[in-house]
Symmetry: C2
Subunit: 282 residues, 2 copies
DNA sequence: AGGGCCGATACCTCTCGGGTATCGATCGCA
DNA sequence: TGCGATCGATACCCGAGAGGTATCGGCCCT
C-alpha cells in the first residue's frame, strides 16, 4: 500500500462521496474511483459499499480508516522530524516541547531552568499550543515531547511519566459571593447566573454551540473572568497569576489533574531523555 | 513520501550499500540511486553521505530510519488488520492474542475461560510467539492484544494495564544441592559449574555467542534443565509444570516480573476492550 | 599504473496515474 | 409515470515517471 492510496481512501471515507473527495484531493473523480477499486482488489477486501447514489463504509473500511490515519500521521511525523534533525546539525534547537498555553507556567519555568543547568542540555524550543492540540502536535512530529494533563488529554500511543497531581479550583471574579468560601462543589458553580463556563475549541477547531464566551487560551480566560463574564474550573497551578480581579476556590469533587510528560515511544533523542529525567526528578 | 521510497531508504540504510540493497529489493542499482536522491531532494535533506567507495548515515538519515521503520510497521499492520476485519465479518476469529509460548499458561487459561463466559465475548485466537516476538507481532498487526512481561518486553507505543507482579525463581535439575535451599541470590546461580544460563534468540532471530545451550521456548528450557544441562531464572508462574525432574527456588534479589496486557493505542475493537476488562478484573 | 569496485549518469522503454467524455443506475419531482 | 439531475463506473487517451541496460568516473588495492 502506498501512502497516496491511503490519502485517497481517507478522503473518500471521510466525505463518503467520490466527487467531493476528488475535489478535496485536487483531482478528477474517475481516477479516484479507479484507485480505490485497485486498493480493494489488491487487499482482496471490500472497503466501501457503493450504489449509484450512495457510498457506505464496511467494517473493513472502518478498520482501514483508523489504521490509515495512524500511518499518515506517522509519515508526516517522519518528514518533519527528519527535516528538523537535518537543521539541528547546523545549530538549530535540539528539542521541541509542547504545552498548553498558560497552564502550569511556573512548573514549566522550573523544568526549563533545571534542565538548562544539566551538563548535557540541548536547546529547548517551547510551543504553546491551543487546548487539546498538544497530542496532535506530538503525533505529527511538530513537537518531540509534551506536557499533558490527565484526564483531559489522551496519552494513547505515547510513553509517559507522571509528574504531579493537583486539585482543581474554580476561578471567580473578585468579590463574587462564593469567593469567600473555603471550598465549593461542582454543582455550586455550574449554572451560576451570569457566569457560564466558557467554551473551548473542539478537536477540529470549531466551537460547540451553546452559551458561554469562547476562549482558547489561559490569558483570554482570565480576562473574561476578571470582567465578570465567566467562571472556570482549572488545576490549582493554573491559578490567578497574581491578578487582583480573580479569586480561586478549591472544588472538592472535581477530578484531580495529573500532569504527565509524554513523548513518542520510539524517540531516541538525547534531549527528550534528558528533559524527562530532569522532569521526573524535580 | 511514498511507502515505496521508505522501503528503498530502509534497505539502503541497513545495507549501507546500493548494490546489495538493490538486490535485496529485486531491482537494479541505478533506479534505486535515483529514488534515494529524489527523496533527499524532496525532503531538502542529505540522508546519506556517499563517496564512490562508501555510504554513511547522516544524523537526519538515522532519524528517518527510525521513523520509516515505524511507518512501514504501521502500514503492514493496516493491511493485516483490514484483511482480518473483512474476514471477521464472515465468521472468522474476532481477536488475536499473542503470548510467550509456555509462560503463565494457567493464568492465560483462566483469562480465556473468564472472557468466554462474558455475554459479548468474541472468538479469541491465541498466538504462542517466540521469546521477544510478541511486541513485533502486536506492532505489525498479526495480533490485536498481547500478554507482555516487564521488565523484559518493551511496551513503548502500546497502551497497557498491569495485571499482576510475581517473584522470580531459579529452575534447577532435581537433586541439585541448591534445590534444597529455601531461597538463593542471583550470584548463587550464575556460573554454576555445568549449569550455564541458556541463550535466547536476539530480536533479529540470531543467538548471541557464548556458552550455554540455545532455547527459544519454555518446553525446550524445561527439557534442558531436567537433563542437568542448564538452569534458568523465570517468573514463579512459569514453574515446573509438575515435572519431577525440575525444582524451583525463589531468587530474592531478582527483579520481580509484572505481567501486563497490551494493545495498540488506537484499537477500537470490541474484543480487545472486553479482554482487557476481563483481565484487569480477574 | 592498472584492475576492480561502486555510485552516478545517460538514455530508452513501457507501465500506470491522471485527464476528458460518456454511460447507466437511481432518486426526486411534477 | 416520465424526465432531469446526480453520482459512480467505464472507455479511451496522454504524459510523467519508475525501472531497465550500458557506461562513466572516482577511489582503493596491489
Amino acid at each position: 500500500m502506498e501512502t497516496r492510496e491511503l490519502r485517497y481512501f481517507v478522503a473518500v471515507a471521510e466525505e463518503l462521496h467520490f466527487g467531493r473527495a476528488a475535489e478535496r484531493l485536487g483531482m478528477a473523480q474517475p481516477p479516484l474511483s479507479r484507485a480505490i477499486r485497485q486498493l480493494e482488489r489488491r487487499l482482496g477486501v471490500e472497503l466501501l459499499e457503493r450504489t449509484s447514489r450512495t457510498v457506505a463504509m464496511t467494517a473493513a473500511g472502518e478498520t482501514l480508516l483508523d489504521e490509515a490515519r495512524a500511518v499518515l500521521d506517522a509519515v508526516e511525523a517522519a518528514e518533519r522530524r527528519t527535516r528538523r534533525a537535518a537543521h539541528t546539525t547546523t545549530g538549530q534547537p535540539g528539542v521541541v516541547l509542547a504545552t498548553k498555553a498558560g497552564a502550569s507556567t511556573e512548573f514549566l519555568a522550573k523544568l526549563l531552568a533545571a534542565y538548562a543547568a544539566e551538563p548535557d542540555a540541548v536547546p529547548v524550543e517551547v510551543i504553546l499550543s491551543g487546548i487539546g492540540e498538544q497530542t496532535r502536535v506530538l503525533r505529527d512530529g511538530r513537537a518531540d515531547v509534551a506536557l499533558l494533563h490527565l484526564p483531559f488529554d489522551d496519552t494513547a500511543g505515547f510513553d509517559t511519566e507522571e509528574l504531579r497531581t493537583e486539585r482543581q479550583v474554580v476561578l471567580l471574579p473578585a468579590g463574587h459571593p462564593l469567593g469567600a468560601r473555603s471550598h465549593v462543589l461542582t454543582a455550586d458553580v455550574t449554572d451560576l447566573p451570569g457566569l457560564p463556563l466558557p467554551r473551548w475549541p473542539e478537536a477540529d477547531g470549531t466551537y460547540r454551540d451553546g452559551p458561554g464566551p469562547q476562549a482558547d487560551n489561559h490569558a483570554q480566560l482570565l480576562q473574561l473572568i476578571g470582567l465578570g463574564r465567566a467562571c472556570a474550573i482549572v488545576p490549582e497551578s493554573g491559578g490567578t497569576s497574581g491578578r487582583g480581579d480573580v479569586v480561586a476556590v478549591p472544588v472538592l469533587d472535581a477530578p484531580s489533574v495529573t500532569t504527565v510528560i509524554a513523548w513518542p515511544p520510539h524517540s531516541r533523542s538525547r534531549g527528550v531523555a534528558g528533559l524527562v529525567r530532569t522532569a521526573t526528578s524535580l
